[in-house]
C-alpha cells in the first residue's frame, strides 16, 4: 500500500512525463534535426524547448525531432502546430528566441510574427 505522499509524487512524475508524449490538443513543436539542423545548433534549441516546457509546466505541449525541413539556410528551425492544425515555422532560432516563443506563442497564444518564416493551415 502506498502513502498519499508517494501517490502524489507518482502523479507529479507522470504529469512531467507527459510533456514528451504526443498530445492531441495543445501545441506540437517539431525541431528540424537533419544534418543541416544539427550543424546549425539544433541540439541546443531542442534542449531549450524541452527545458522551457518543463519549467513552465506546460502539459499540453509535445516536443519532437524531425528531419530536414527543406530550408537549410534558415536552420535551426522549429515548426509549431496548434490544436486547430495551424502551423507556424520559426527560423534562425537562438535560445533567447525560444524563451520568447514559449512565453508569447505557447502561453499567451500570440505568435511572434517578426521571427516567422511562414505560416500555413492544413486543411
Amino acid at each position: 500500500m502506498k502513502t498519499i505522499e508517494e501517490l502524489k509524487q507518482l502523479r507529479d512524475e507522470s504529469l512531467k512525463k507527459m510533456t514528451m508524449r504526443y498530445t492531441k490538443d495543445g501545441y506540437r513543436v517539431q525541431v528540424g534535426m537533419g544534418t543541416c539542423g544539427i550543424a546549425s545548433g539544433a541540439r541546443a534549441i531542442l534542449n531549450a524547448f524541452l527545458e522551457q516546457v518543463e519549467n513552465h509546466e506546460l502539459k499540453n505541449v509535445t516536443v519532437t525531432q524531425v528531419g530536414c525541413m527543406g530550408e537549410c539556410a534558415y536552420e535551426p528551425m522549429a515548426e509549431i502546430i496548434d490544436a486547430s492544425g495551424q502551423s507556424y515555422v520559426y527560423g534562425c532560432l537562438t535560445i533567447p528566441m525560444v524563451r520568447q516563443i514559449v512565453e508569447k506563442h505557447m502561453i499567451d497564444h500570440q505568435p511572434i510574427t517578426k521571427y516567422l518564416l511562414s505560416e500555413r493551415k492544413d486543411s
Binding site: K16, K17, T19, M20, I38, A39, N47
Partner: protein, 173 residues
C-alpha cells in the same frame, strides 16, 4: 558541423530512424580514434550500401541529397582514417570509422556526456550503450529507461556519465 559529437549524433539518428531497439557506440584510441556503431535496425541492401557514401543519395522520397553519412565518410578520409559499413536487411547495421583526431581537419571533439544526454531525451531511443575505452555505460543498466524521460533525468544521466567517463580517462576539452 563544428563538433565531432554532432557528427555522431547525426549518424546515430540514422539508427533511430531504422527503428533500432538497441544502439551501441564504441570509442577507442588505438593510433587512430576508432568509432564503432552497431544497431539492430532494419538494415540496408547491398545496392543501398554502395550509394550511402555519396551526397547524391538519400532514402527520403522528398529530396535526393543525403548529407549525414557522406559528411562523416569525407571526414574520415580527409583525416587519413577509414570508413567501413556493413549491413544486413532485417538484422542491423555496423559502421566502423577511424579518424586521426590530431589531424588539422579534425573538428573539436565536443562533450560526450551532452551527447549521451541528448540521445537519452530523444523519443526514438529505446536503449543505448556507450563503450569509451574500458568504460561501459548502458542507459537501462544505469536505471535510465525509456519510460521516464524528463530534463531532470537527462541532467542526472549527464552527471553520472561524466563521473564514470572521467574515471576512465575522459577529459572534456
Amino acid at each position: 558541423m563544428t563538433k565531432f559529437t554532432d557528427y555522431l549524433y547525426d549518424i546515430l539518428q540514422n539508427s533511430i530512424e531504422a527503428k533500432a531497439e538497441h544502439i551501441k557506440l564504441s570509442l577507442k584510441r588505438n593510433g587512430l580514434l576508432r568509432v564503432l556503431i552497431e544497431d539492430d535496425g532494419i538494415g540496408m541492401d547491398k545496392d543501398t550500401l554502395l550509394k550511402v557514401r555519396t551526397f547524391s543519395y538519400s532514402s527520403r522520397r522528398k529530396r535526393n541529397v543525403g548529407l549525414g553519412l557522406s559528411l562523416i565518410h569525407d571526414l574520415s578520409t580527409s583525416t587519413n582514417g577509414y570508413f567501413n559499413i556493413d549491413s544486413t536487411l532485417g538484422v542491423g547495421t555496423t559502421l566502423s570509422i577511424g579518424f586521426d583526431d590530431k589531424h588539422i581537419d579534425f573538428p573539436e571533439f565536443g562533450s560526450l556526456e551532452a551527447l549521451l544526454g541528448d540521445l537519452y531525451i530523444h523519443q526514438g531511443v529505446k536503449n543505448f550503450t556507450l563503450m569509451y575505452e574500458d568504460v561501459l555505460l548502458d542507459f537501462k543498466a544505469l536505471g535510465f529507461d525509456d519510460e521516464s524521460k524528463t530534463m531532470s533525468q537527462k541532467k542526472k544521466l549527464e552527471q553520472v556519465a561524466k563521473a564514470l567517463l572521467t574515471r576512465g580517462g575522459y577529459e572534456n576539452n
